[in-house]
Amino acid sequence: MTNTQVLRAAASRKRRKPGLVRAVLALVPVLVLVTVAVFAPAIAPFDPERSVDAARLAPSVSHWFGTDAVGMDVFSRTVYGTRIAVRFAIVVALIATIGGILIGVFIGLSESSRGPLGLLGRLLNQISNYIIAVPDIILGIVIVGIMGASDLTLTIAITLCLIQAPIKLTRVEVLRVRGESYLEAAEMAGEPALRSALVHVVPNSLGPAMRNLPLIFGNCVIILASLGFIGVGLPMPTPEWGYMISSGVSALMLGQWWPAVFPAIFVLLSVLAVAFTARALPKTWPVLADRFSKIIPNRRNSLA
C-alpha cells in the first residue's frame, strides 16, 4: 500500500471491515421492525379498533400499555400501528426509488438533446425543481384535502414529496457519468450510443438513489405520523401512530401519559432503527455480499 493510500485510509477510517456477526447485527433493528409489522395479529392480544375494557386504565398485566379514552388497548393499537407504518413505508420507498430512478435517468439522458424528448426531459426537470420547494406536509394537506383521506391518497401525497430526491440524485449522477471519459472511450470503441447509455450510464448512476432508499423509508413514517397528528391522516379508528399521539395529548395533560407516550416511543424507535441500519449498511453490505454471493464482483470489497 502506498503512503497516500495509507493516509487516506487512516483518515477516513472506513477500511475497517466488520465481521459477519457485526454485519448481521446492523440489520437487526429493521428486522425487528418488520417482524413486528408482519406478525402484528399474533402479537397484539386485542382487537385494535374496538373498545375492549374500561377507558383510561393504567398500564397493567392485562393491558401492558393501558387503555385509551374509549377503552381501546394501547399495546394492540401501537403494534398494529407498526404494521400500517411499515406497509406505507415499504410501498412508498419502492415506488419512489424505482420511479425516481426511471424519471431521473430519463431526464439525465434526454435533457440536453434536441426535439420533443429533450423538451419533455427539461419540462419534467423544471416541474421537479418546483415541487421540491413545496413543504412535505403542506403538499400532504392539500392533496388529502382535495382527494379525501384514504390509503391511496396518502400514498400519492407522500410519494410525490419523496420521489423528488431520487429523481434529482439520479439525474445528477447520470450527468456526471455522461461526462466520464469512459463514455468517450466507448464512442471510440464503436459502441452504439443507446447501448452505452444502458450498459455504462445507467448501472453507474443507481448508487445515490439506492443509498437514499432508507431515508425515504424513515421520512415516510415521519410524514404519515405528522399528517395523522394534525388530523388529516387515515380516518378515525385506524391505529395510526400520529393520530394516536394527538388524541392522547389531552389525557397526557391530566397525567395519563400512556396513550400518547407509547406510540411516540414507537415512532422514535422505528425511525432510529431505519437510520441505524441505513448508516451501517454501506459498511456491512460488502461483508454480506461477500458471504452470500461470490459470483457478482463487488467494487467496494475488492478495493485494495
Binding site: 471519459s181 472511450a185 471510440m188 470503441a189 464503436g190 452504439p192 450498459v199 453507474n204 467494487r299 485494495a304
Partner: protein
C-alpha cells in the same frame, strides 16, 4: 502492415463561446499527416493541443475549416453508422487515463468491445486469441484481463487503454497526454511500448503532451503550439538544436541541462 492514408487539416479553427466572450482555442491551422508521420505536438495547458486532437477524431467539431481523412471529411465519416465504425477502426484516440474504463467492467470486457464493434468479431475464441496477442505485444499479463480497472496500477491501466485502441490495428493513433500522470519510471516503459508498436506496424502517430522530453523521444516531427497557434514546426532535431521562435527557445532552454549534468555511459 497498415495501408497508407492521408489526413489533411485545412484552415481548421475552434472557438468556444460566442460574441465578445468567445475564446479561440485553435487558430486557423493547416496540417498533413500520413502513415509515415510520427508527429509530436507540444504546448502548455490551454494551448489548444488537446482540442486539436479531439477534433480530428470527431469528439469536438471545428468552428470553421475542414478535416479530411482519405478524401472524406470527418463529418462525413461520422454521418452514417457504417462509415463511422470504419473511421473509428482506422483512427484511434487514447486519452490521459483517469476514468477511461467503466468501473463495473473487467479490463478484458473493455478491450473486447472495439473488436466486436469495429472489427465485427463475435467468435469468443477469436476474441480471446486477439486479446492474448495484444497483451503479449504490450507486455501485459493476460491474467489481468479478469480484473476491474481500479485493481491495477495507473501505469497498467494506461497500457490497457493502449491495448483497447491498438487491438483493432488502426492506421493512425492519437495519444493525448498519455504519460503525464505517470511516475517517471513508468513513463519510459509506456513510451517504449508505443514507439515500438507504431514502428512495427507502420502506423501514423500523433503524440500530444506538455512534457518535452517524452515528445522528442517518440516523434520525428514537432509542432509547438501556444495560445491556439502553431508557433513553430519541423523535424525534432532541428527544433531542439536551433529553435527559431523565442517561445520554442524558452521551452528548449527550460529542459536543456547540458551544463549542469554529467551523465554516465
Amino acid at each position: 502492415m497498415a495501408e497508407s492514408f492521408e489526413l489533411v487539416l485545412s484552415g481548421v479553427r475552434k472557438d468556444y463561446g460566442r460574441g465578445s466572450t468567445a475564446l479561440t482555442a485553435v487558430q486557423p491551422l493547416d496540417l498533413r499527416v500520413t502513415e509515415e508521420s510520427e508527429l509530436g505536438i507540444i504546448g502548455e495547458s490551454g494551448s489548444g493541443k488537446s482540442t486539436l486532437s479531439r477534433m480530428i477524431v470527431g469528439l469536438e467539431h471545428p468552428t470553421s475549416g475542414e478535416i479530411v481523412f482519405d478524401g472524406r471529411s470527418v463529418k462525413e465519416w461520422l454521418s452514417t453508422r457504417r462509415s463511422r465504425l470504419e473511421f473509428r477502426q482506422q483512427v484511434q484516440y487514447v486519452a490521459q487515463d483517469t476514468t477511461s474504463f467503466d468501473p463495473r467492467k473487467t479490463l478484458g470486457e473493455a478491450v473486447a468491445v472495439p473488436l466486436r464493434f469495429l472489427r465485427g468479431i463475435t467468435d469468443r475464441d477469436e476474441i480471446r486469441d486477439r486479446l492474448d496477442a495484444i497483451a503479449e505485444e504490450l507486455a501485459l499479463d493476460p491474467a489481468m484481463y479478469e480484473r476491474l480497472p481500479h485493481q491495477v496500477s495507473g501505469g497498467q491501466r494506461q497500457r490497457f487503454a493502449l491495448a483497447r485502441s491498438l487491438v483493432v490495428e488502426p492506421r493512425l493513433l492519437l495519444c493525448d497526454e498519455v504519460v503525464s500522470a505517470l511516475d517517471v519510471s513508468v513513463q519510459g516503459t509506456v513510451l517504449n511500448l508505443i514507439k515500438g508498436f507504431v514502428q512495427r506496424h507502420r502506423m501514423g502517430l500523433m503524440f500530444v503532451a506538455h512534457g518535452l522530453p517524452a515528445v522528442t523521444f517518440i516523434s520525428r516531427e514537432l509542432l509547438v503550439m501556444k495560445r491556439g497557434e502553431v508557433v513553430e514546426s519541423g523535424p525534432v532535431r532541428d527544433l531542439v538544436e536551433s529553435p527559431q521562435h523565442p517561445y520554442t527557445r524558452e521551452l528548449m532552454n527550460a529542459y536543456d541541462l547540458d551544463d549542469g549534468r554529467k551523465e554516465l555511459s
